[in-house]
Amino acid sequence: MLNIKNLEAKVDNKHILNGLNLDIKPGEVHAIMGPNGSGKSTLANVLSGKNGYETKGEIKYNGENLSELSTEERAQKGIFLAFQYPLEIPGVNTNVFLRTSLNSVRKARGEKELDTLNFLKIVKEKSSELGIDEKFLSRQLNVGFSGGEKKKNEILQMKILQPKLSILDETDSGLDIDALRIVADGVNSYKNKENAFLIITHYQRLLDYIKPDFIHVLSKGKIVKTGNADLGVELEKTGYANFI
C-alpha cells in the first residue's frame, strides 16, 4: 500500500529525514517510535503533503507517486492524518466541516453526496461509539475543546471518512487513561484486512492497547531498528540510547 524509498526531507535547509525506507501492506499496523527531534512528525507531515518541506526519494501509495498529489487529493484517496495538535478553527461549525469533508471524499470516490439526514445518522452512530456528546458537534471546530476532546474528534473524523491508511501522530499525548482507552477502542474497531495504520508515538502506553505488527525506531531521520511488538516493551525498559 505504502512504499517509501530513500526519503529525505529538509525544512529551512535543515535535514530532518535522511534516507528513510518503509513498506506498509494492507491490514498491517506499524508503529514508529523515537526520541524528540528524530523526524517522526516530519514523516507524518510529508505523507499528508504539508507545504514547506523539500523532499527527495520516492513515496508510492498504491503504486501512485504521492509527491504529485495535493493534500486534499491524498485525503480523498484514503490517507488520513490524525494531527498531533488539531487546529482550532473559529466560526466553522464542526458538523458543517465533517459533512463538507465527507462529501468531498465521497465525491472523489464516485459516491453520492449525503443529504443532511443520512449524514447526521452516520455522525450520530460514530460519535456515540466514541462517547462524544452530540452537542459538541454543533460547536466551532476544536475551539475551546480540551486536549482529549480534540484527539477524540480526530478519531471520529477517521471513522467517518473511512481512510485506507491512517497515520496517528502522537494521538496518545495529552490523554488520560480513560480517553486513551476510548481512542484505542476506536482504532481497534476500525482495524480490518484492508486498512493499515501508522502509529507515531513516544511511549509504549498506546501500544498496550493497539497491538502493532511492526515497531520501527527512528533516529536522526532514519529507521535504525525494526522489530515486532516486543521491541516496544524493550524500549520502554532500556530507553532509546541502545539504538541510536
Binding site: 507545504n51 478553527i89 468531498s104
Partner: protein, 409 residues
C-alpha cells in the same frame, strides 16, 4: 488646480432667504478646503479629493428627481417599508403596525440638526441637503415587523451629488429594527452624502442594518449622529459590500446611565472597493457599555479602513468599552488600515481595543485539505467562518436568513 465640482445653493428649490444664507455660509466653509484629504484627521488614511478628482470631471448638485417608479419588494420576510428615491421619500407602508403610533413626514429643514466637525463633508451636507424623511415612534410602541428603507437611486444620475438628511425619534420604551437597503445598479458615477440623526428616548431600542442589493459604481458617505438616553440600546450592523466607495462615520453619544451601543461589521471586499468605518463612541455618563467588532476580508486591490474611537468623559465611571478589528488580507495589493483610539479621563473603567490584520492561517488550510476538502473550498470555509461571528449576531431569524443568503452571493 481646476475644480472638478460646481455646487450651487440656488439649485435647491423653495428655500427661505434665511435658509439660503445659512447654506451659503456652510458652502463657503466647505469651499475653503474642498473635499477632504489626509490632512483631516477624520480622513487620515484616505485622500477623497484625489479619488474623486480622478473619477469625476464635474460633480454638480442640479439633479432633479424623477417621478415615482416601481420597485421590487423583498419577499423573504414580512416587513414595513419606506420607499426613498434619490433621497426623496416617495411612499411608505406600515401594514403590520398600528398606524397611530407611527409618524412619517418629509424632513423639515427649518428644524434641522447639523454638525460641524472634523469631517468637512458635513458642511457640504448642511449646504446641499434636500429630501429625506422624519420618522417618529410613539411611546411604548414596539414594532412587530422590521422596517425596510428602500434607498433607490435612478440610473439617470451621473456626475451628481445627492444630499439629504433623515431623522428618527424613538420615544420612551419604543422599539424598531430597520434594514437600510440600498438598491441601484447604475453603472454611472455619483456621490451620495447623507446625514442621519437618531434620538433614543429612555428605554428605547434601535437595531439598524446596512446592506446593498447590487454592486455599483457610486460613492457613499453617511454621517450618523445618535443621542442615547437612559437604558437605551443602539446596535448598528454594517454589511454593505460591492460599493466603489463607502464611508460610514458614526457618532454615538451615550448621554445617560445604562445606555448601550454596539457597532458590528462583516465586510468582504474585492476589486477596487474602498470601505471605511469611522466611529466615535462617546461615553458621557457612567455605567454605559459599548462594543465594537469589525471584520474585513480584503481581496484584489480593495481597501478597508477602520478608525474607531472610544472617548470616556471624567464623570463616566464604570464604563465598559470594547473594540476589536480583524482583517484578512488575501492579496498583496489589498490594504487594511486601522486607527483604534482610546481617549479616557475616568479611572474606574474597563476599556480595551485590539486590532489584527494578516494572512489566512495556512495551517488551518492544511488541516481542512488533509480531510479531503479542496483548497478553494477550504479558503471559502475559513473566510465564512471568519465573518460568521458577526452574522450570528444579526437579529430576527427570517431577516438574518435573508441577509446571510444575500451576502453569500
Amino acid at each position: 488646480m481646476k475644480n472638478f465640482y460646481d455646487f450651487k445653493v440656488d439649485n435647491i428649490i423653495g428655500l427661505s432667504s434665511k435658509e439660503k444664507e445659512f447654506r451659503n455660509k456652510e458652502l463657503d466653509l466647505f469651499d475653503k478646503n474642498g473635499f477632504p484629504n489626509k490632512r483631516e484627521e477624520a480622513w487620515k488614511f484616505t485622500d477623497l479629493n484625489t479619488i474623486l478628482s480622478k473619477n469625476f470631471t464635474n460633480i454638480t448638485n442640479d439633479y432633479i428627481s424623477l417621478k415615482e417608479k416601481k420597485f421590487e419588494l423583498i419577499k423573504e420576510f414580512d416587513h414595513n417599508y419606506l420607499f426613498v428615491l434619490d433621497g426623496k421619500l416617495v411612499s411608505n407602508e406600515f401594514k403590520f403596525e398600528d398606524k397611530n403610533k407611527v409618524s412619517i413626514k418629509e424632513y423639515d429643514y427649518e428644524k434641522q440638526t447639523f454638525v460641524r466637525n472634523q469631517n468637512s463633508l458635513n458642511l457640504l451636507n448642511n449646504a446641499l441637503a434636500s429630501g429625506g424623511y422624519s420618522l417618529e415612534i410613539s411611546k411604548n410602541y414596539k414594532f412587530r415587523k422590521p422596517l425596510v428603507v428602500y434607498n433607490h437611486f435612478s440610473e439617470s444620475i451621473k456626475e451628481q451629488i445627492i444630499s439629504y438628511k433623515n431623522s428618527l425619534i424613538l420615544n420612551e420604551n419604543s422599539e424598531i429594527k430597520i434594514l437600510n437597503y440600498t438598491d441601484t445598479n447604475s453603472k454611472n458615477n455619483f456621490f451620495v452624502n447623507s446625514f442621519d440623526c437618531f434620538k433614543l428616548k429612555k428605554d428605547s431600542s434601535l437595531k439598524n442594518i446596512f446592506i446593498n442589493k447590487n454592486r455599483c459604481n457610486c460613492y457613499f458617505h453617511n454621517y450618523q449622529k445618535s443621542d442615547l438616553e437612559h437604558n437605551t440600546t443602539l446596535d448598528n450592523y454594517i454589511l454593505s459590500t460591492g460599493l466603489k466607495f463607502n464611508k460610514m462615520d458614526i457618532e454615538i453619544n451615550l448621554n445617560e446611565e445604562h445606555a448601550k451601543s454596539s457597532v458590528f461589521s462583516a465586510l468582504s471586499l474585492s476589486s477596487d472597493e474602498h470601505q471605511e468605518i469611522k466611529s466615535s463612541l462617546n461615553h458621557n455618563s457612567k455605567n454605559c457599555q459599548s462594543y465594537q467588532k469589525i471584520k474585513n476580508v480584503l481581496n484584489d486591490q480593495s481597501r478597508g479602513v477602520y478608525q474607531g474611537k472610544i472617548f470616556v468623559k471624567q464623570e463616566a465611571q464604570k464604563t465598559d468599552a470594547y473594540q476589536l478589528s480583524k482583517a484578512l488580507l488575501l492579496n498583496d495589493n489589498a490594504e487594511f488600515d486601522a486607527k483604534p483610539e482610546l481617549e479616557i479621563y475616568a479611572d474606574d473603567v474597563k476599556c480595551s481595543h485590539g486590532s489584527t490584520s494578516g494572512s489566512i492561517d495556512l495551517d488551518s488550510i492544511h488541516y481542512l485539505k488533509s480531510r479531503g476538502i479542496p483548497e478553494k473550498k477550504a479558503y471559502q470555509m475559513l473566510i465564512n467562518g471568519f465573518l460568521s461571528e458577526i452574522l450570528e449576531k444579526l437579529p430576527e431569524d427570517n431577516l438574518k436568513k435573508f441577509l446571510i443568503e444575500k451576502l453569500g452571493r
